[in-house]
């Protein structure tokens, strides 16, 4: 079996035992890697009814078959656990060098169970696996942790994924940082690591990555590298993802003031163009990436002078316009705090913006917010609120540390109505009411509100559908997107390269070239469907139903008025119809539960089917 190392690491933190297990060929072929193997591992290993912050939870890390090859941006990895934030499947995918380094070390994945009695980190060095003391790293930021681990191992090339103080405190929006600027951001998997006393995973590999035919792979890779320098990736190369700010503002779908508007009157001040001109110090790339989208900002003056952080569109909008903040310095500082203290920037921005709305509505008092001037647009207050949230400091920090949905549960007073989330996970930077196919994709996402599961915003943005209305046919669009994206997230290739592949056949060709499996595009899409259903089954095991697949009340109950939209709102009957259309496309019943027939066809456990 080429493309894979063929084995994975097992670590039981309760006993301190480590071991190796073979990755079976049929599992590899059926679940590919990354997201697929996360879903497969969690479904089989997390017991029903488990608490996400208990030793029963499983934290796993998987690369995919392309990891370590010259396929563009092949260095990605996935991590997963029962999500402390959503209570359903939790996973995230990050770039940086973890995936390729793990492959070079001779492993496809790491599966961690149990709970250590004191802080530990796992060090995988080629064939060796060690559980090492991390007492001296506890309380340290993610950046400091990377630095200290490299120092003590006498090796600058060790790759590290670590949690910050937020993960240690098991804040339910805690993330995991690797290679300084890359994050397993969503679903609070950092909290799951923290609950196991697992501070970090460090990896170093010096072995070769085996593929069936190197010359053939190389020929295709060099062609793909060329395409990565062409028009399909131009916006990522020039402005990075913040190129979206002005595009979305023009379309009226740039979340502003906690999704109360879709246009921001100061959008120019926080645009990708402005950022490139005034903030960007350096453009960097992940290993094996010919695109180079990572725009690293440096704050030149003011109270946060010297701050350096990588700022992407989602972080920029949620911490910027969605908090009414038009100050790139404040946004960059807030991103740095999130990355180093260990909180997801999307959840952070959306949670602070919820608090700002609650404060402006008089539901949070000056005392509740520890004296901060928490009105929309106050950059300094936003930064300080983020810091306190990350550190669980004061009344405000304690209120916000577990995300907007739990903050609203604590506060009450109908503040749940303006939590912009699905499955308790905060919404990404795509407005709900002017992008209704996107909203269907966000709300049906297995991991909670997410734009990356189906990319269904694309038909709205491109104008191929009426984005202000929904109908039954949108379900099929989400279904198709999810099946393909499940493969992309399992291989794992970067979504920014999706435009360089001419069609699905070329993605199937990637699988053939790296694994030698004789897979065509039809089997590949079927595999994507299997992976997605495996993830859904995990959610069914944890009680998911139709009720979990809706956007928040604001989408239905408040009309959107701004520079672009004139009373846009989602019609509940239309949404219901589209949701049923989605279930129908998926072969699920009206409650969103897969049928036994479908599960059998996909080769999945049929016991939870209907």
């Amino acid at each position: 079996m080429k493309g894979y190392a063929g084995k994975f690491v097992r670590v039981n933190l309760t006993t301190g035992e480590t071991g190796k297990e073979r990755l079976k060929e049929d599992v590899a072929r059926n679940f590919v890697g990354g997201y697929g193997l996360v879903a497969h591992t969690l479904y089989n290993e997390v017991p029903e009814g488990a608490d996400a912050l208990s030793p029963e939870n499983v934290v796993c890390l998987w690369s995919g078959p392309v990891a370590g090859t010259p396929i563009p941006v092949s260095s990605k990895y996935a991590m997963g656990a029962l999500s402390p934030l959503t209570g359903f499947i939790g996973f995230g995918i990050a770039s940086g060098g973890i995936g390729s380094e793990l492959k070079a070390a001779g492993w496809d994945g790491i599966v961690v169970t149990g709970k250590a009695d004191s802080p530990k980190y796992i060090y995988v060095h080629n064939g060796q696996v060690e559980v090492r003391d991390a007492s001296h790293l506890w309380g340290k930021t993610t950046w400091k942790t990377e630095e200290l681990i490299r120092e003590e191992l006498f090796d600058d090339e060790v790759r590290v994924s670590s949690i910050g103080p937020s993960g240690e405190m098991m804040n339910r929006i805690a993330n995991i940082t690797n290679d300084r600027n890359r994050q397993i951001g969503r679903c609070g998997i950092g909290a799951a690591m923290g609950s196991k006393n697992l501070k970090a995973i460090a990896i170093r590999g010096t072995g070769s990555v085996e593929v069936p035919d190197l010359d053939e792979l190389l020929e295709f890779c060099l062609d793909l590298h060329q395409r990565c320098r062409g028009p399909a990736t131009e916006k990522y190369r020039k402005y990075g993802t913040p190129a979206n700010v002005l595009v979305h503002n023009r379309l009226g779908c740039l979340p502003t003031n906690n999704f109360q508007k879709g246009t921001f009157d100061q959008a120019e001040a926080v645009s990708g163009e402005k950022m490139l001109e005034t903030m960007v110090k350096k453009i960097t790339a992940c290993p094996a990436c010919p695109i180079g989208c990572d725009h690293i900002n440096m704050v030149k003056d003011g109270p946060w002078a010297g701050t350096v952080a990588s700022v992407d569109y989602e972080s920029l909008d949620l911490l910027g316009p969605n908090c009414g903040v038009a100050d790139l310095n404040a946004i960059t500082k807030a991103v740095e705090l999130c990355d180093t203290l260990g909180v997801d920037t999307i959840s952070a921005g959306a949670t602070v913006s919820w608090a700002m709305e609650a404060y402006e509505k008089g539901l949070l008092t000056k005392e509740d917010v520890d004296g901060l001037d928490l009105r929309f647009g106050e950059g300094e207050a936003m930064v300080e609120a983020v810091r306190r949230m990350c550190m669980r400091e004061g009344n405000l920090g304690e209120l916000l540390a577990d995300g907007a949905a739990r903050a609203a549960e604590k506060l009450g007073k109908d503040s749940e109505k303006f939590v912009i989330a699905n499955k308790k996970m905060e919404w990404g930077a795509y407005s709900m009411r002017p992008l209704q196919t996107a909203t269907l994709g966000f709300a049906t996402s297995v991991r909670g509100a997410c734009y990356l599961r189906s990319g269904s915003y694309q038909v709205d943005v491109k104008g191929t559908v009426d984005r202000y209305h929904l109908d039954r046919s949108r379900g099929k669009i989400v279904y198709d997107g999810e099946n393909l994206y499940s493969i992309i997230d399992s291989l794992i290739i970067c979504k920014f390269t999706r435009g360089i592949y001419k069609d699905n056949d070329e993605i199937a060709k990637v699988i053939r070239l790296v694994t030698g499996f004789d897979v065509d595009s039809e089997e590949m899409i079927k595999t994507g469907e299997r992976i997605h259903n495996q993830a859904k089954l995990f959610n069914v095991k944890f009680g998911a139903g139709r009720k979990d697949d809706y956007p928040p009340p604001r989408a239905f109950e408040e009309k959107l008025y701004d520079d672009v939209s004139d009373g846009a709102v989602i019609d509940r009957a239309e949404y219901d119809e589209a949701l049923s259309g989605y279930y129908e496309a998926r072969g699920w019943n009206e409650e969103g539960i897969p049928t036994k027939a479908l599960l059998e066809e996909l080769g999945l456990d049929t016991s939870l089917g209907v």
């Binding site: 010259p70 072995g207 990555v209 590298h225 110090k281 453009i283 790339a285």
Partner: protein
């Protein structure tokens, strides 16, 4: 005498993608193993990246340091390692100011860049997606710098 050509890295353009390392190992070692690459990417956090290979020094310290006379200078200024003589002691690695030599743990022998001697330009240069690497002479580097400086003046004067 013909000027020596070396691999020069524009640190503004280098993104740290390490594709030079991938290509080097693929073309020189016929395997995907960036730890065997003879060009080395170095990142100084948070914003500095460079790829460094042999500098073809006028008085190569690696040659002086080798106790077994395993390293010899070639007509193009690069150095060649005699695999039969090298026993992987690594003194050359310590001596080199640029980290341009590497110990191949499997072969127990040191390797360094030969600038893809049989080709027009090294593969790392050919396939750097950011055009950060150039196979050029130090004279030309100086000339280009002069041109750039002059262009800045012209632009400022309109």
């Amino acid at each position: 005498m013909e000027q020596k050509r070396i691999i020069v890295c524009d640190t503004e353009k280098c993104t740290g993608c390490e594709i030079c390392e991938y290509m080097c190992s693929i073309f020189k070692e016929k395997t995907i193993n960036w730890s065997k690459a003879r060009i080395r990417h170095v990142r100084i956090e948070p914003t500095f990246d460079i790829a460094i290979a042999c500098r073809k020094c006028e008085e190569p310290l690696c040659i002086k340091a080798c106790p077994r006379d395993a390293i010899s200078e070639q007509p193009d200024g690069s150095v060649k390692i005699d695999k039969d003589k090298c026993n992987g002691c690594g003194w050359c690695i310590e001596a080199c100011n640029f980290g341009a030599l590497k110990l191949d743990w499997e072969k127990k022998c040191v390797a360094t860049c030969d600038f893809c001697a049989d080709l027009d330009q090294p593969k790392c240069v050919q396939f750097c997606p950011y055009e950060a690497l150039e196979f050029t002479t130090l004279d030309q580097v100086g000339h280009e710098a002069g041109k750039k400086a002059f262009m800045r003046v012209i632009e400022e004067l309109g």
